[in-house]
Amino acid sequence: MGDDAVIAVEGLTKRFGAVVAVEDLSFSLQRATVTGFLGPNGAGKTTTLRALLGLVEPTAGEALVFGRRYRDLQRPARRVGAVLESNDFHPGRTGRNHLRALALGADADIGRDRVEEVLDLVNLIRDGGRRVRTYSLGMRRRLGLAGALLGDPELLVLDEPANGLDPAGVHWLRTFLRGYADAGRTVLVSSHVLAEIAQLVEQVVIIDRGRLAAFVRLDELSDRGATLEEAYLELTARPAS
């Protein structure tokens, strides 16, 4: 594992009572890579991302960003932007005030002008003054992304970002992430919908039942004449019962 690993997951294990969500998971991601994080529902993707972001405490092992635990980062909003759920908003607060409160709480010199910038970036500048309860799912997705972008972070972590988006929304997201990655940033995006991922990422981490199933580059797969879907299904196949 190089020192410049943006994400380093080492022997990560997380149990919730008797349930093992993630077991001895290890992988690391280098700077300026766009990585898909795949696995069936319940494979442990969300738990892994939450451990990475300091929201859940690992039972064993560690999950580091930029070589540190998330909570030990100086001004984390400047390093990492993350969206975990599609609807983490107070319905009675305006989109703009949601972002302003986050900007203040981040304590990282994120001013009001930056709030306007990210609203513009996600095409919500005209709707920023409306309460979130009036937003469509697509608008909420974009507002969540705007929150992650406030600190102009080097790493973007998105959990199932295309869930519930219509085709135009998925297209917008893909275009946006492509541009973000082309600027030399690092992206980790989880999904259980392969089609969303295949056109966007250069490599995939596949986990199944809390364990690493594969970590492959998409061009290696195509060299072998395999599609992502074939590889995925093979790796995560359940024995017929």
Partner: protein, 245 residues
């Protein structure tokens, strides 16, 4: 820490929750004062202790609403999921909670001062209009209002602690309301002397109610502060130790 305080202040200003609580509180205070001031018999209203108790309804209701406001400041974040982006922006969760205690405490004090002031004014008008001699002096009025502000500020902190431990919004709010409105009232008699040290009774003591029965106002504030510290410490422990789901 200033940043987190400003963030929390914006959060509380930018929804209608606080304004709604404030309006409901003042409405209830007026209603309580009208019911007591015009519903009770004149000879009852003439007694000094009853006058203190009636004018002290402002403190009692403000304590309740401040606790609800404090609890809501954290349970609403959990309910709506904003706790996740909040913790990403401020991974030191103790700071998030401390900011909630600070802002809720200040707003709670505002609720307490406003409700106590309104109760004192409305009660005085009601008693005067019935020709009942008011046995309270300037010191009593000052204590009603200042004690009401202090008690509500401390109850707001208690509310933040309870909200952080309980997490479920409905359970926290119902629990607080049930404690103040029912349990302390019902159990107060059964607890005997110990009832004076229940947190609701300490708030009432802080505003000078039931002198002789309750503890002295300064003691009431100090002991209520101990409750607040314990509740916030428990909330802090719960918030930093538990996973954010």
């Amino acid at each position: 820490m200033i940043a987190q305080l400003r963030a929390e202040l914006l959060k509380q200003r930018s929804t209608r929750t606080d304004l709604g609580l404030f309006a409901a509180l003042l409405g209830l205070v007026l209603l309580a004062l009208i019911l007591h001031g015009f519903g009770l018999r004149a000879e009852e209203l003439a007694r000094r202790n009853n006058q203190l108790m009636i004018l002290g309804r402002g403190e009692f209701l403000a304590a309740l609403f401040a606790a609800l406001l404090g609890a809501t400041s954290i349970t609403a974040e959990i309910r709506h999921g904003t706790i996740r982006p909040t913790c990403l922006a401020t991974p030191r969760r103790g700071r998030v909670l401390a900011a909630k205690v600070g802002v809720s405490g200040v707003i709670g004090a505002g609720l307490g001062l406003a409700a106590s002031g309104l109760a004192a004014a409305a009660g005085t008008v009601a008693l005067n209009s019935r020709g009942i001699h008011i046995q309270l002096d300037r010191g009593d009025y000052l204590l009603l209002i200042a004690g009401g502000g202090s008690a509500a500020a401390l109850w707001a902190a208690v509310g933040v602690g309870i909200g952080a431990v309980v997490r479920n919004q409905v359970a926290a709010l119902v629990g607080i309301a049930a404690w103040l409105l029912f349990f302390e009232g019902l159990l107060g008699g059964d607890l005997g002397d110990a009832g004076r040290f229940a947190p609701g009774a300490l708030g009432m003591a802080a505003s000078g109610q039931e002198p002789g029965t309750l503890v002295a106002p300064g003691v009431g504030v100090a002991l209520l502060a101990v409750y607040a510290i314990v509740a916030v410490a428990a909330g802090c422990l719960a918030t930093t130790r538990r996973d954010v789901a």
